[in-house]
């Protein structure tokens, strides 16, 4: 009712002061809401009527009732406490007035938003400076407050944001954007089994929050870590949406499994093949690794977590942070925390983005006449090979193809403007009892190469409810369905090397599916003719049209908990979590595709001889069940703050892989590509199973005094099924301490210094990733042979199934232990510049190593022992600055990490690994590059003779002008040198292979800049790595100029000839008599790069559209826009499927 009505009533009624009084008691169904809501509640639930003057009383302010029954006076007093509103009860009428009414108060309204995202900020405290009066913004970020004068100052403050002071001036509307403060001291950080305010952290933790994750255009969450934080090295898996990035936290701990542990909402993820069984490093069992990676397929299981659902990613970098994950934590822990609902009215968020991506570069290869000229020259340069000179290169032969046209084999591999799209819808909200969050998303990513894409459908729900003061429960469920095609016809290198005269598409329209065959053949007896001579390439495009390979993946991750809090601060919590991941891989292959094959098979012998093709399906089931129970207690005794946690967990993991296939396909009809049952000999099946279990008990004590002196201790006791009885259990302790020096009295004068904290930590953590049951002597069940004479099967005989026994079990095998020591300084200067400087030292001891035994032992698998030792040391530096010029907000962040990796000790001190795979040798970094050292190119035959006068090159069969020469650096072992003797010995042979470079970057860094000006925002992210080398395998194959019929990069046009004395590109010579192509630093390049990883420009629509949506932002972005590098290939990060350049537009809106 309006006041004018009240006056009317007052003047027409005689009001008795008795009767319905302010002492009347009533019971309201109301706890929190706006004053307007309260008024409505009182009016509907009692006989009271409430009057107020709308221009004086702001009914939008939040009010809270702790007691819901009592007298109207009690209720109103509580509700209006602290506000400027007073009430008067007149029988059944209540009149609200502002205390300052008549004091010419100025009413200010406005909205508070996030400066970067433009999202409204509910719950922002707005205080009138110098008073106790203030208001809090509503769920739409709106507020209304009355101030005494135009000189009043409003102070806006909110956890996680920089506070703002604004003088009212003459305005009645003040809209303001608060700038998030990533390094804000009160920011809550997920630390594993709990959270902590940033200022209280004593360990090394990096956090990437939702906004940074949202800015990354990748559909997989790991990529949002690239360049964002010190200590975390991320290498992209390239343009294939199914491939997984490599992540290393503070260096490479081991040549076994160096991947960190991933924990999603408390659920540690376990996946078949993520352990030692898939290791392809030195000493690993090739068969096992190949089988494992084959079973695992090309799938990044983390792409099944929708980044849009992620609230924050915490990376636990040192032992004191990660030791609570014990035996799994040696390589660091990545904690992914997903979004949850917040109290308030329902909120709808929509993110839509759509983009295109392309690989910016292509290999430049020779055309047909250049190709022909090269190989003519190459054969002429080696008289021994001249008899093998293929007639297709011989201009006098009828087979000559040198006059053919040039076909471009590379472009058909590229998918122009490959699609990337991502659509997300999220609804969340809640009240004081229950919060909920529901999200759904769809995304599609196409590789920049053909026949490779992924679609993801995701759903997440999250409900937490507080049943009463003591009891709360929650459920979190996530469902992801993924469909992927992984059938790129081949490698870019292969098509780049295809003979340019061979057509791809059918010349006369007779080819299968429009493609030109590579071979023709007759059956029985089988005889094949290659249509383009011995230089014929497989027509991989045609072959691809007759086969396919697809995945469908389904993941269910769920978690339910119940929490009891019988006393304030004492919590008992029990939870069950499950992660079920199923992968189905289906493939088919039509035999007619053999005509595209360079090495065609006689498919008349497959199936019953009339089969159209083969079909197969593989089904992998991972199930991971975790039960946990914890007790925590937090209490302050005066200035002493204590937080205690004990936890017990039990995890079981099961894996089943079932495959079936048939080579009998009775119809080419896609709908009939089924594995027929019961066709003896043509259909087959098989199964692999795996399981493991883990238990852990942990205790954590956190103590601080006056938020100045901190001490943390963690002990975890872990048991793993992977080790023999007696070796299953281990204890992992860690300690950390911090001193907030800025909290001391003597620092108070340094006003520019807002915060300064010194920290130190030490801890031991484990890595259990070794082959399952390495402590037992397992049998290999693979070998088969035949015996006997089967009249129905001449020449083949009867099948017998064998076993291999006799590997080396190691019953004493136990986990690797990584010991981390860490020192750090955190500080905040002038409230705008924050910095962190850390030094770390990680030493992995008892490294689980395949002992490289002499081959004469004859062991199929090398025994696994705890021998090796690795050390990683380095610095991490992070700097962040936030500033403001007028309405322009800006920020700059930089981080740099250095890594020094060194192998300290190995089994038997013996180096492992070969030239192409990476060398592991004491005193050098893991996986270093190792081979011959290039000297130069002989410019004349005299130079050859001069060289040969002192040095015999045993690798070369002959040397001539234009060949490369290599340095004589070592000799064979002698009594003092077991592996090689340093110093020239007059012979270049395998002992002259030596250290050539390192593959672990010596440093990596990230630079981020943001600018925001009245609704327009700009953000750019640079990432880079330095001090690193890589093998350019493409050049090794496409600059070798020695194999037959492999097209070469156009860089070979600068090759050495008697008239062109190149000093970098040797002569062309068939079969490479000078061994120019041996593995040497010729193929090694500096792989450092600086990349503009991401650039985004957005515009947040002004407030006038509020009726349609609360907030809307449109943006355009690009990723991988610019790369500075000396790398000569397509991409220094991933040469196989280069990282594409992406342009994206998007809309983010909230309703």
């Amino acid at each position: 009712m309006k006041l004018s009505t009240l006056i009317l009533i007052l003047t027409t009624l005689q009001i008795s002061a008795t009767g319905y009084s302010q002492n009347a008691s009533l019971k309201l169904d109301f706890q929190t809401g706006t004053l307007s809501d309260l008024i409505q509640a009182i009016e509907t639930q009692s006989d009271f009527r409430i009057f107020y003057k709308t221009d004086q009383v702001d009914v939008r302010q939040q009010v809270v009732l702790s007691e819901t029954d009592g007298s109207i006076a009690d209720l109103l007093s509580e509700a209006l406490e602290g506000s400027d509103i007073s009430y008067q009860v007149l029988d059944r009428l209540i009149v609200l007035t502002t205390t300052s009414a008549g004091n010419q108060q100025i009413r200010i309204t406005g909205t508070v938003t996030d400066a970067n995202s433009g999202e409204p900020l509910p719950g922002v405290n707005i205080l009138i400076e110098g008073t106790q009066q203030g208001v809090v913004t509503g769920s739409d970020g709106g507020y209304s407050v009355a101030v005494p004068s135009a000189t009043s100052v409003l102070v806006f403050s909110y956890v996680g944001y920089n506070s703002e002071r604004i003088e009212v001036g003459g305005r009645s509307t003040i809209d303001i954007s608060l700038i998030p403060d990533i390094q804000n001291l009160e920011e809550v950080v997920v630390i594993g089994y709990g959270t902590r305010e940033r200022k209280d952290i004593t360990t090394s933790i990096s956090v990437v929050n939702a906004k940074d994750i949202g800015n990354s255009l990748s559909i997989t969450p790991e990529m949002s870590l690239q360049g964002k934080s010190a200590g975390i090295f991320v290498e992209s898996g390239g343009g294939n949406p199914n491939s997984r990035p490599t992540i290393r936290i503070r260096g490479t701990n081991t040549w076994g499994v160096s991947d960190p542990l991933y924990v999603v909402d408390g659920i540690p993820l376990t996946e078949y093949g993520s352990g030692a069984e898939a290791s392809q490093g030195a000493g690993a069992d090739w068969n096992q690794a190949a089988v494992t990676s084959d079973i695992r397929g090309n799938m990044n299981v983390l792409s099944m977590i929708n980044p849009a659902d992620i609230e924050s990613i915490s990376v636990l970098k040192d032992a004191s942070a990660s030791a609570i994950y014990g035996v799994r934590a040696a390589n660091g822990v990545i904690l992914i925390t997903t979004k949850k609902g917040q109290a308030g009215k329902p909120r709808i968020d929509i993110n839509l983005k759509r983009g295109i991506q392309n690989i910016p570069k292509k290999y430049d290869v020779l055309n047909t006449s250049e190709f022909t000229a090269l190989y003519v020259e190459s054969y002429q340069n080696n008289p021994d090979e001249m008899p093998n000179f293929p007639t297709v290169f011989d201009a006098t032969s009828p087979d000559y193809l040198g006059n053919s046209m040039t076909y471009d084999w590379i472009s058909p591999m590229y998918r122009e403007n490959a699609e990337v799209s991502d659509y997300n819808l999220r609804i969340s909200g809640g009240n004081e009892f229950t919060n909920y969050y529901v999200s759904s998303g769809y995304s599609r990513t196409e590789s920049p190469l053909i026949r490779n894409n992924m679609d993801r459908y995701s759903l997440a729900t999250n409900i937490t409810t507080k049943i009463n003061k003591f009891l709360s429960v929650g459920v979190n469920y996530r469902l992801t369905y993924q469909k992927a095609q992984d059938a790129t016809p081949g490698e870019l290198t292969y098509v780049a090397g295809a003979s340019p005269w061979q057509p791809i598409y059918s010349l006369d329209g007779t080819g299968v599916n429009g493609y030109e065959p590579a071979a023709s053949f007759t059956f029985n007896p089988f005889a094949a003719t290659l249509l383009w001579g011995p230089e014929t390439n497989s027509n991989v495009f045609g072959a691809a049209s007759t086969k396919d390979n697809r995945y469908t993946n389904l993941r269910n991750i769920g978690n339910a908990y119940i929490e009891v809090e019988p006393l304030k601060g004492l919590k008992f919590r029990g939870s069950i979590s499950a992660d079920f991941l199923n992968q189905v891989r289906s493939n088919w292959n039509l035999y007619e595709g053999e005509i595209f094959n360079q090495t065609p098979s006689d498919w008349s012998v497959y199936g019953d001889g009339n089969s159209y093709g083969s079909v197969g399906q593989r089904d992998s089931r991972n199930s991971n069940l975790i039960k946990e129970f914890s007790v925590s207690y937090a209490k302050s005794f005066g200035e002493h703050n204590i937080d205690l946690l004990v936890n017990a967990m039990d995890q079981t993991y099961n894996f089943t892989f079932t495959q079936s296939s048939s080579e009998q396909l009775s119809s080419p009809d896609p709908n009939q590509r089924l594995i027929e049952e019961g066709i003896k000999g043509y259909s087959s099946g098989g199964q692999i199973k795996n399981k493991n279990a883990l238990q852990g008990y942990l205790g954590r004590l956190t103590y601080n005094y006056k938020s100045k002196y901190y001490f943390d201790a963690v002990v975890r006791r872990d048991g793993s099924s992977r080790f023999a009885p007696g070796h299953k259990w281990g204890v992992f302790p860690a300690f950390s301490a911090a001193w907030r020096i800025s909290g001391e009295q003597f620092m108070q004068n340094l006003t520019f210094l807002n915060d300064l904290k010194l920290r130190a930590g030490w801890g031991q953590i484990g890595n259990q990733e070794t082959q399952a049951f390495a402590y037992l002597s397992l049998l290999g069940r693979a070998p088969h042979t035949t015996f006997g004479i089967d009249p129905l099967n001449p020449g083949r005989g009867y099948f017998y199934w064998g076993i291999v026994a006799g590997n080396f079990p190691n019953p004493d095998l136990t986990w690797e232990k990584t010991i981390t020591t860490n020192f750090g300084i955190d500080g905040l200067l002038l409230n705008s510049l924050n910095f962190t400087l850390e030094y770390y030292d990680k030493t992995t001891d008892g490294l689980i190593q395949s002992s490289n035994l002499p081959a004469s032992v004859g062991s199929q698998q090398n025994p696994i022992v705890n021998i090796g030792k690795i050390k990683n040391t380095g610095f991490e530096i992070s700097l962040g600055y936030r500033g403001k010029v007028g309405k322009l907000n800006y920020s700059a962040n930089a981080n740099l990490t250095t890594v020094k990796n060194e192998v300290i000790q190995m089994y038997d001190n013996a180096p492992m690994g070969d030239e192409w795979g990476g060398r592991i040798e004491e005193g050098y970094p893991i996986n270093s590059l190792w081979g011959y050292q290039l000297g130069g190119i002989f410019q004349s035959e005299q130079e050859v003779l001069d060289y040969q006068a002192t040095t015999e090159d045993k690798i070369a069969t002959s040397q001539h002008a234009g060949d490369m020469w290599f340095k004589d650096v070592n000799g064979p072992p002698d009594e003092n040198h077991r592996f090689y003797t340093p110093g020239p010995d007059g012979v270049v042979d395998n002992f002259d292979r030596t250290y050539l470079g390192k593959t672990i970057p010596g440093f990596f860094y990230g630079l981020n800049f943001t600018i925001e000006y009245s609704g327009i925002d700009l953000a750019c992210y640079f990432t880079g790595v330095g001090d690193v080398e890589k093998i350019n395998g493409v050049r090794a194959s496409l600059e070798s100029m020695s194999s037959r019929g492999v097209n070469q990069l156009s860089s070979v046009k600068d090759r050495w000839t008697p008239t062109n004395h190149s000093t970098t590109m040797p002569r062309a010579a068939a079969a490479d008599p000078g061994a120019n192509n041996r593995f040497s630093d010729r193929w090694i390049e500096n792989a450092s790069y600086l990349r503009l990883a991401n650039l985004q420009v957005g515009y947040t629509l002004p407030k006038f559209n509020t009726k349609v949506f609360e907030r809307a932002r449109i943006w355009v972005g690009g990723s991988n826009l610019f790369t500075a590098t000396q790398w000569s290939g397509l991409d220094p990060e991933n040469e196989a499927i280069p990282i594409p350049r992406t342009f994206t537009i998007g809309i983010d809106a909230s309703f």
Binding site: L530, T786, F787
Partner: protein, 509 residues
């Protein structure tokens, strides 16, 4: 509620949850009955795939085929030109690994058979126990025979190595490798069966062991001849006795049956490697220990199949071999054919590929013949001749080969069994072996070396010319190589061994 939570958690956290059993067999649970021992010997035979298969387009046959003077290639192989045979060479390393893995698998079986009587849980019949032991000894001997012929010295391991402390074995001295093979075969001939049921044909028999034993004795005699003539004579005599114990083998009428997939394990055969093909799809890139779709095949693509031999250059007969046959010898057509277009320098090798069977050159089921009766007869002739036995008996043995070769025809005619010049007769034997066994596994290079040691020939004088090694390579450097190896002609011990085992003394060169 709290009680429920506690009980739930404590029940689930029993530490016995960690005591998982592996979902595959373990050594401790295996080797309990006849069938399980059989599966172990199957695994040992199966490992021979590593020697003969396509090997990811790195077939290793060149190591034993190219050094001889029977086949040659234009391709740049160090074993053809004797130029660049270094210890890190891939073929040498691969063969070394394969041989020792077979030895290791045999040693495990021998250990288990030895332990069986003391283990009440093992129920193996005496017969199976003996047979499988005999097979394990035979396969191990075959590997020592090969190790001897390539390297002369190598770690001699006749017990399973079970711990890291004993993982390094020094290399053998003298003829230890052959000595061990002869000793093992002497035992094997007493326990192996005379024959196998049809479904097991191809497993080693008593006569396989006699054949290999005799061969090892002849080889040891050759290597010892110059230093210990009496010992050599004793070895020749023992070899003759071993060969005489072979009674069920005969020369098959058709020479070509020895290389045809359709006539495997025939009456001339003493031992072959049982190449097979998967019933379904065989992935030629997967080795035999891979699992599903793995390889069981032999590979012959280096003889004529350019398209499966990727960048390789084919192997074909030397001019010397072509010249060695008398016109009209029926063995010519089974060995090589003239090419119409002049490829392969005019002649293509067809032994093994003429009747290669299903699938063919990339993955073939055609068995490499390792030991056949014709070889035995010629070795016996040599042993008789060199131990001072009847020259006419020796010549008669050569004539048996020639008789079978000509079939119903006239060429090659019988040699005069009245010849008395031992050198002439030895030359006849060598020439007959050249023609009869050319291009077959492990023959020519091994023969040339032992004859050189015994002094019947002098390889030091051989060049690349048509009456020497008859190599088409211009970078042929045998003389240089033989000098570098101090005349021993042993290959360097592979780096896969020397890198890890400092007890090894490297061969000269």
């Amino acid at each position: 509620m709290l009680v429920w939570m506690f009980s739930f958690s404590f029940n689930s956290c029993k530490e016995s949850n960690l005591d998982l059993e592996p979902m595959a067999e373990t050594e401790a649970s295996f080797f309990k009955d006849d069938y399980q021992f059989f599966r172990a010997i199957v695994g040992t035979y199966a490992k021979m795939t590593d020697i003969f298969w396509f090997n990811n387009n790195n077939p290793r046959h060149y190591v034993w085929i190219l050094p001889g003077d029977d086949l040659t290639t234009r391709g740049g192989y160090p074993f053809e030109s004797f130029n660049g045979i270094i210890q890190s060479e891939g073929g040498l390393n691969d063969l070394w690994i394969a041989y020792y893995r077979i030895i290791s698998r045999a040693n495990v079986i021998l250990e288990k058979i030895e332990e069986a009587p003391g283990d009440p849980g093992v129920n193996i019949t005496a017969e199976t126990s003996e047979w499988i032991k005999g097979e394990a000894l035979f396969l191990r001997s075959l590997m020592y025979y090969k190790l001897w012929n390539f390297w002369g010295t190598a770690p001699l391991i006749n017990k399973r190595i079970k711990d890291l402390a004993t993982a390094k074995t020094p290399n053998s001295t003298g003829t230890q490798l052959l000595d061990q093979a002869i000793e093992d075969l002497t035992l094997a001939v007493t326990i192996l069966p005379d024959s196998w049921d049809d479904i097991y044909t191809g497993r080693a028999t008593r006569e396989s062991a006699y054949g290999l034993m005799g061969k090892c004795l002849v080889f040891r005699a050759c290597y010892n001849k110059k230093t210990d003539a009496a010992g050599a004579t004793a070895d020749y005599t023992a070899a003759i006795s071993a060969f005489n114990s072979i009674t069920t083998r005969t020369l098959v009428p058709g020479f070509g049956d020895n290389f045809s997939f359709a006539a495997e394990n025939n009456s001339e055969s003493l031992f072959e490697w049982q190449a097979g093909l998967q019933e379904g799809f065989e992935n030629i890139w997967l080795n035999n220990d891979f699992g599903q779709n793995m390889s069981m095949h032999s590979y012959w693509g280096f003889f004529n199949c350019e398209w499966s031999f990727w960048a390789g250059t084919p192997f074909y007969p030397t001019q010397k071999l072509i010249n060695a046959f008398e016109a009209g010898d029926p063995r010519i057509d089974e060995s090589f054919v003239a090419t119409e277009d002049g490829r392969y320098d005019g002649f293509q090798w067809v032994k093994y590929t003429k009747n290669i069977g299903p699938q063919g050159l990339t993955n073939s089921a055609n068995n490499p013949r390792i030991l056949r009766y014709a070889d035995v007869l010629l070795l016996k002739a040599e042993a008789i001749l060199q131990s001072g036995g009847s020259k006419s008996a020796a010549i008669d043995l050569i004539n048996q080969i020639r008789t079978r070769a000509r079939g119903a025809g006239a060429v090659p005619a019988d040699l005069n069994n009245g010849e008395t010049d031992a050198q002439v007769i030895m030359q006849w034997i060598m020439d007959e072996r050249f023609r009869e066994l050319s291009g077959e596994d492990d023959h020519r290079w091994f023969d040339l070396k032992r004859w050189h040691y015994a002094g019947y020939i002098d390889l030091g004088t051989w060049g690349s010319e048509a009456n020497g090694f008859s190599s088409v390579r211009t970078d042929f450097e045998f003389t240089n190589w033989i000098n570098n190896t101090a005349g021993k002609m042993w290959f360097p011990i592979p780096s896969i061994e020397t890198d890890q085992n400092e007890l090894i003394v490297q061969n000269p060169g």
